[in-house]
């Protein structure tokens, strides 16, 4: 068994009567403030900062991707336009080449040979003067109409000449490829062409006479028909 009193006296005498134990046990509040709270606050702030940065970062990412998409779309549009320009350029490239082929001197002269009239229409010098003064593209008929309308005969002559020329032209067109026309038709066509030429020549040489003869012939034929039908020859007279 332990003798308490024996042991008490063995303790060394302490000058400062307040032992550490008493000291701390009597005032526990003194320790309350010593509890570390700072690390707790530090963790909270770090998370906040991180989350804020993360949010900003995500927003930034979204913005960047949105802007990028928009610019990409715009760029695509630009490239599409460029592509269509390029296509149009290629078309133009080919078209100009076609134009060069079509308008080459060789092609033009071939076309001229094919479609332009080689037999030119004869005009008197006096007619050309009037042509220059009054109209740009008049026919012989117009020229005669414009030049002093002394009588109807001139007009008729001009009409006749124009008609004969057209007929002659038509006949010539028919006669263009004689090897393809049967012999009989060929001969008759040649004859008709000759006749028309002679007629045209006569019209130029003595226009008045040709008209008068024609008129008399017409009048005579008309009277004959009248006699045949029993109509008075000179009605009303």
């Amino acid at each position: 068994m332990i003798d308490h009193e024996k042991w008490i006296g063995t303790l060394p005498i302490i000058k400062n009567k307040d032992s550490d134990h008493n000291k701390f046990s009597t005032n526990p509040d003194k320790w309350t403030d010593t509890i570390p709270t700072i690390p707790k606050q530090k963790t909270k702030n770090g998370i906040k900062k991180f989350s804020l940065t993360l949010v900003l970062f995500v927003i930034g990412l979204i913005l960047v991707s949105t802007i990028k998409n928009k610019t990409r779309n715009l760029q695509k549009e630009i490239y599409d336009l460029k592509a269509s320009i390029s296509d149009l350029g290629a078309d133009l490239h080919k078209a100009t080449l076609d134009y060069e082929v079509i308008t080459s001197p060789e092609n033009i002269s071939q076309l001229a040979e094919k479609y332009l009239e080689t037999e030119l229409v004869y005009y008197k010098k006096s007619q050309i003067k009037k042509l220059n003064e009054k109209t740009e593209n008049p026919t012989l008929l117009d020229i005669t109409k414009d030049s002093k309308p002394k009588s109807k005969i001139k007009l008729k002559v001009a009409q006749k000449i124009e008609e004969t020329k057209i007929e002659l032209q038509k006949l010539k067109e028919l006669y263009k490829q004689p090897e393809k026309i049967p012999d009989e038709i060929k001969i008759s066509l040649a004859k008709k062409i000759e006749e028309k030429k002679i007629k045209l020549k006569k019209l130029y040489q003595n226009p008045k006479q040709s008209i008068d003869i024609k008129k008399i012939q017409q009048w005579g034929a008309f009277q004959l028909v009248k006699v045949f039908l029993g109509v008075p020859v000179i009605p009303g007279r």
Partner: protein, 576 residues
């Protein structure tokens, strides 16, 4: 963790030995978790940041160099622009690249080969079915047709076969076909120029910096066409086997037209190997005959040995020098003045003038005109005059253009120098803004030039002259005829070099006919003269010297091109 900490604060009894800061606030596991989570956030942040950085760099790079990096732009890029256009002086396209498609077949992708063959034949009936069938069975890629027309390409494409593969290749098109065949030349399948301008300017034509601009030539399509037409007509009228002509501006050497017949269609890509297709103007080297007499007379005048009126008396009809017999082509008066010698084209007279001039002076004079050295010209095909030893007989024959060779291009240049006041020029066909138009070195005096121009005019205008058919009203044509025999043959090579307007020459026209025949059925129309003010018609001529064919052709050419030259050149129109 929070609850744990709170719990610790409510604790009533507290002992020193119980106190452990870490135990109260965070245990080791908590700290570890905190550390891990913060590291993760940092890690993610770093990844996102680096991604953003990479994206930003990429965006900046793409915006700076879009064409290099975006594949769809490459598809849209026009691949036709691999060789520049060639255009004439009026902007008419002479050569242009286009795309032509070739169609090939991958037989392993064809399921029903007979059906495929049938469909192919409907579109391409010219194909050999057996050959195609054999190729289809071999399972190797092969071409069914190269250079497809756009219509056929579309039809094949519409078949919808995966097996048909289309390959686009650049192809050079020459819209003027034959018109410039000797000048333009051709390119091979790999876009390399193999002849003519295409070869000479190959690097320029492929220069990527200038692909969008054209290569401008000094040639004129209309003039070229008119001259070519007259040369073709000459072939019909005089039965010559070939012909050539060159039209040059005497003041600067600008070539307006260069024709050589026979020619060929550049688009047909046939291999042209025969000599007859040679470019006669630049590559052909010929004895050009009496056109040299002009130089003989000019040498005499320039060296002040003679003047135009110097009389040569008792001229023989024949001369013999070693084994060579020199005789007149026609009966000529015994006494002729220097200018009469040229007007009547007297061989003996020319020999006499040359003898007075002497070998050295004559040689020097011809050298100053650049007749013997290879000419610098912008074409790949250039001929070199044949070299020879000078002697007394060589001087005699050279005086009237025999035993001496040169190219028609050099001949035209020599006449241009004589006509322009004696200034040296270099012919060219490339139109350049920076080309200096300053006059070259004067090699002949203006006085000699004027005298020669006047005498050349008389060759054409006087009845006794040899070139009356070229006396076209309003154009003051002057010129000299030349008839020579081809080597070891009786066939002739006739030349006529003309300068117009003679009072102040602006253009030189050289016309050459190879082996022209006499044309007894051809109706010659003599222009008005003193004897015949209204001119007259003549037929039944059996001579085939230059005066009876080349001059006629040159006259017709001048008559046709004259108005164009006058319209395009006010200076010329003022002179007419």
């Amino acid at each position: 963790m929070k609850n744990k900490i709170k719990k610790n604060f409510k604790q009533k009894s507290f002992f020193f030995e119980d106190y452990n800061e870490f135990e109260i606030t965070f245990n080791k596991k908590d700290i570890y978790l905190i550390k891990v989570s913060s590291n993760r956030i940092i890690f993610l942040f770093t990844i996102f940041l680096s991604l953003m950085f990479i994206f930003s760099i990429k965006i900046i790079y793409l915006s700076l160099y879009p064409e290099k990096n975006l594949s769809f732009i490459k598809i849209n890029k026009n691949p036709i622009l691999e060789r520049r256009d060639i255009i004439d002086r009026n902007g008419v396209i002479l050569a242009r690249n286009i795309h032509i498609y070739s169609a090939g077949v991958r037989p392993n992708l064809v399921k029903d080969k007979e059906k495929f063959l049938l469909k192919l034949r409907l579109i391409l009936p010219e194909l050999d079915s057996n050959k195609i069938r054999n190729k289809l069975n071999k399972d190797k890629f092969f071409y069914i047709q190269k250079r497809l027309s756009p219509e056929k390409k579309d039809k094949l494409w519409l078949l919808g076969y995966q097996a048909i593969v289309f390959e686009a290749k650049p192809f050079r098109i020459y819209p003027q076909k034959n018109l410039f065949s000797h000048i333009l030349g051709q390119t091979d399948d790999s876009n390399v120029g193999i002849s003519g301008v295409e070869k000479f300017f190959d690097k320029d034509l492929k220069n990527k910096k200038f692909l969008k601009s054209s290569l401008n030539l000094t040639l004129d399509s209309n003039l070229q066409y008119l001259i070519r037409e007259e040369l073709i007509n000459a072939q019909i009228n005089f039965g010559n086997v070939g012909s050539a002509a060159i039209l040059m501006n005497v003041e600067n050497g600008e070539i307006l037209s260069l024709v050589s017949l026979p020619d060929y269609d550049l688009n047909k890509r046939a291999s042209i190997n025969k000599d007859i297709y040679t470019n006669k103007i630049t590559l052909g080297v010929y004895e050009l005959g009496s056109v040299f007499k002009t130089f003989t007379l000019a040498a005499g005048l320039e060296n002040k040995i003679i003047n135009p009126n110097t009389l040569f008396k008792n001229l023989e009809h024949d001369l013999t020098c070693d084994k060579y017999k020199i005789s007149e082509h026609d009966k000529l008066p015994k006494n002729l003045s220097a200018q009469q010698i040229l007007i009547r084209s007297s061989n003996i007279g020319a020999v006499k003038i040359a003898q007075r001039v002497g070998v050295e002076n004559y040689k020097k004079f011809l050298n100053s005109l650049g007749l013997f050295k290879k000419i610098n010209f912008e074409l790949a095909e250039i001929g070199t005059p044949l070299s020879f030893k000078w002697g007394k007989c060589k001087l005699a024959t050279a005086s009237f253009g025999h035993g001496i060779t040169t190219t028609p291009l050099q001949m035209a240049r020599a006449y241009a120098i004589l006509g322009n006041g004696g200034y040296k020029i270099e012919p060219f066909i490339l139109k350049k803004k920076e080309r200096t138009m300053e006059k070259g070195q004067q090699v002949i005096s203006t006085k000699t030039s004027n005298q020669i121009n006047s005498i050349l005019r008389q060759v054409v205008s006087l009845d006794e002259g040899t070139a009356n058919f070229a006396n076209i009203k309003g154009y003051e044509v002057g010129g000299k005829t030349g008839t020579s025999l081809k080597y070891n043959s009786n066939d002739k090579l006739n030349t006529f070099v003309s300068l117009f307007p003679a009072s102040r020459p602006k253009y030189v026209l050289l016309v050459m006919l190879d082996e022209p025949k006499a044309a007894p059925n051809y109706v010659y129309e003599f222009p008005p003269s003193e004897k015949f003010p209204n001119g007259y018609k003549y037929t039944g001529e059996y001579r085939n010297t230059s005066g009876w064919n080349t001059v006629v052709v040159a006259g017709k050419i001048i008559e046709k091109i004259g108005p164009i030259l006058a319209i395009n050149n006010l200076q010329a129109s003022n002179n007419f």
